[in-house]
């Protein structure tokens, strides 16, 4: 992945890293030509220091990321999608289509799968990889039928005691005529409200973009996790900048003000945990990322599955009840 020659997909701050990668690839190639231009030990001698340099550079660059940089990483053209995690972290995914009412929204996919030893239902945003897929999935922006499908499948899982994993990655629910006509707000609201009552463990992970209500529509969970470079926000930085700064170009300032990065969200108590990404981001090692994700999910599901249902629901209620501090005007802070 890291060795692709095409530099156009890389973000500006990643370019120095990609250039070293490219050099490493070229040297390694020299060893595979016949007759070999370089001996294996010569390759090692040249590549070793380059790799050290690259890793040091990654550490430096990634320790200085701005919130807006992280938004761009979350939207990275090479960033793994839910479909990648479904392939590498889960096994035997069997998709279940349709809301049995209007259609089969390609922006949300649902299916039965195994996660290690556990049976689960996966509900995930789908952004699509190829242009054709992207258009079919409406770039990951779901319509009401997507949320209705998700809820229908979640109720199915609940009926048979199957825990639910949702993978969140959307700019937001689609703002369009059909979406409004068919009750976008109501569909999301119903999904949110009913997820609160599901009698099985629910773990949600923001894997890329956590775009407002469209993300929350499949995101009411016992445990909400987020990947290190994903973001979750009430509004896109561009949208916030356009409204509060009257200038969409102030998206960097808005991204900072919104406190939408994984560490910020952990500190604010919005997420329950942050899942570390491979050095340089999930896109540099999607398979490694999938393995980490699987471990994190299993450990959450193990803990949640041990709870009696009443306790599970009680804790879910208490968790949401406690999100967000306020004060009584006597100025005593309370949660």
């Amino acid at each position: 992945m890291a060795s692709a020659h095409d530099l156009k997909d890389w973000l500006d701050f990643e370019k120095p890293i990609a250039e070293i990668d490219q050099k490493i690839t070229e040297i390694e190639k020299l060893a595979t030509t016949a007759p070999a231009a370089l001996k294996p030990q010569e390759v090692l001698a040249e590549v070793g220091p380059l790799k050290n340099l690259r890793d040091k550079l990654i550490r430096k660059i990634f320790s200085e990321l701005t919130p807006w940089d992280r938004v761009r990483l979350a939207r990275h053209p090479r960033r793994p999608h839910a479909t990648d995690y479904i392939e590498h972290a889960f096994t035997g995914f069997l998709e279940l289509h349709g809301d049995r009412c209007y259609g089969d929204d390609q922006a949300i996919s649902c299916g039965l799968a195994a996660l290690g030893p556990r049976r689960v239902l996966v509900v995930a945003h789908r952004k699509g990889k190829t242009t054709k897929e992207r258009v079919a999935a409406n770039f990951g922006c779901a319509h009401p039928e997507g949320y209705r499908k998700a809820l229908l499948k979640m109720r199915l899982a609940e009926k048979f005691g199957v825990p639910i994993v949702t993978l969140i990655d959307t700019q937001g629910a689609f703002p369009g005529i059909g979406a409004e006509e068919r009750g976008q707000a109501g569909a999301i609201a119903k999904s949110i409200q009913e997820m609160a009552t599901l009698r099985v463990p629910v773990v949600s992970v923001v894997i890329g973009e956590g775009g407002s209500g469209g993300a929350l529509g499949i995101g009411v969970a016992d445990k909400l996790l987020i990947l290190e470079h994903a973001y979750y926000s009430v509004i896109s930085p561009e949208g916030c900048a356009a409204i509060l700064w009257k200038d969409a170009e102030k998206k960097g300032e808005a991204a900072k003000a919104l406190r939408l990065t994984a560490p910020d969200l952990l500190e604010l108590g919005v997420v329950d945990g942050v899942i570390e990404e491979p050095p340089g981001g999930a896109h540099r090692d999607p398979v490694g990322m999938a393995a980490t994700l699987r471990t994190a999910l299993l450990s959450q599901l193990d803990a949640l599955s041990a709870l009696p249902v009443v306790e599970l629901l009680e804790r879910r209620y208490a968790k949401y009840r406690a999100i967000g501090k306020f004060r009584w005007s006597a100025a005593t802070a309370e949660t």
């Binding site: 629910a173 689609f174 703002p175 369009g176 005529i177 979406a179 409004e180 006509e181 068919r182 009750g183 976008q184 707000a185 109501g186 999301i188 609201a189 119903k190 949110i192 409200q193 009913e194 609160a196 009552t197 956590g210 407002s212 209500g213 929350l216 529509g217 995101g219 009411v220 979750y232 926000s233 009430v234 509004i235 949208g239 916030c240 409204i243 509060l244 700064w245 300032e253 808005a254 003000a257 919104l258 406190r259 939408l260 969200l265 604010l268 919005v270 879910r316 209620y317 949401y320 009840r321 999100i323 967000g324 501090k325 306020f326 004060r327 009584w328 005007s329 006597a330 802070a333």
Partner: protein, 312 residues
């Protein structure tokens, strides 16, 4: 989900108000007596919480709870040099409210209810932690005291200044309403102009009965966002209450003159007539409050069912 799509429509100072729709000059006192409905074209002006309480609840029946709840600036949010706390103080001065919702108990035709109404003039009725928490408190109050819950919504959506914490209030409010619903509690919402974004996509539309005021703008996304996304003009009347009712998204549009009567008929139709000294309507709520007497097994025709809507 921004709240600033909706600009405050300043009323001209003095005794006369010009109707936003038909431009008729209306005598201020008469307009208030007509529940802020234009006598010429029927336009429903936006209402403050105080006006809602006056026009909806039995006189002197409202008791506010959690009035002292105040937002804190958890994010340290500053936009264009304006800090959120300053914004809050300004809005508090402007509206006399601590945040964008007021909750409590009151009575409608003698029936005690849990009640909440949103103050649109307070930061566009935006939902932050305080709004979310007070909807939760209203739902808990309804559950504990076996009261039907009425929420009057008017909001541009979630409050950006509180970031993802405001988004989470959608889940908080719905979690409490889910518990009320599972216990058999009745929730009715009235969507006033405008109700959009995170409020529409949470507690406004999950109610047992969803009502709206005539011509109210109701939607998930604001019209401008939709136009920018799909790059075409929206049809006339798109996202108006009449459009939503036609599309099957609402139970009923209720003109203000009929509102009290309609609510009374809904409460009576679902819960039975008001029994003096007993308000409980919840049944089978283990540990909710110890009331064992719930609603009667068979519904009896309430006197008010036969009552015609009040004309005014």
């Amino acid at each position: 989900m921004g709240w600033m799509r909706f600009r405050k429509k300043e009323m001209p100072e003095g005794l006369w108000t010009k109707c936003d729709v038909c431009e008729e000059m209306l005598f201020q006192k008469e307009l208030l007596e007509a529940r802020k409905v234009c006598k010429k074209c029927g336009h429903h002006f936006r209402m403050s919480v105080a006006e809602r309480i006056d026009s909806l609840l039995d006189p002197e029946s409202f008791r506010e709870v959690a009035a002292d709840l105040e937002a804190i600036d958890a994010l340290g949010f500053v936009s264009k040099g304006v800090a959120y706390p300053k914004k809050l103080t300004d809005e508090q001065k402007k509206t006399g409210r601590r945040d964008a919702i007021v909750i409590g108990t009151g009575r409608i035709r003698g029936r005690e209810i849990a009640f909440g109404a949103m103050e649109f003039e307070f930061l566009g009725g935006s939902m932050g932690v305080v709004v979310g928490h007070k909807v939760l408190l209203a739902a808990e109050l309804a559950l504990e005291r076996n009261l039907p819950l009425l929420l009057v919504c008017a909001s541009g959506g979630a409050r950006m200044h509180e970031g993802a914490l405001s988004l989470m209030q959608m889940a908080k409010a719905c979690t409490a309403l889910a518990r009320l619903a599972q216990a058999g509690g009745l929730c009715v919402t009235l969507l006033a102009d405008p109700t959009t974004g995170g409020v529409t996509a949470s507690f406004a539309t999950t109610a047992d009965v969803v009502l709206a005021e005539p011509r109210a703008l109701i939607g998930f996304a604001g019209p401008r966002v939709i136009e920018q996304t799909i790059k075409q003009k929206l049809p006339k009347d798109f996202q108006r209450a009449e459009f939503l009712q036609q599309k099957g998204q609402l139970d009923r549009i209720v003109p203000r003159a009929e509102l009290v009567d309609t609510l009374d008929r809904i409460f009576t139709g679902l819960l039975g007539p008001v029994v003096t000294g007993a308000g409980p309507h919840l049944t089978g709520v283990p540990g909710a409050n110890g009331h064992e007497s719930g609603r009667p097994a068979t519904a009896t025709l309430a006197p008010s069912d036969a009552r015609p809507p009040i004309a005014s």
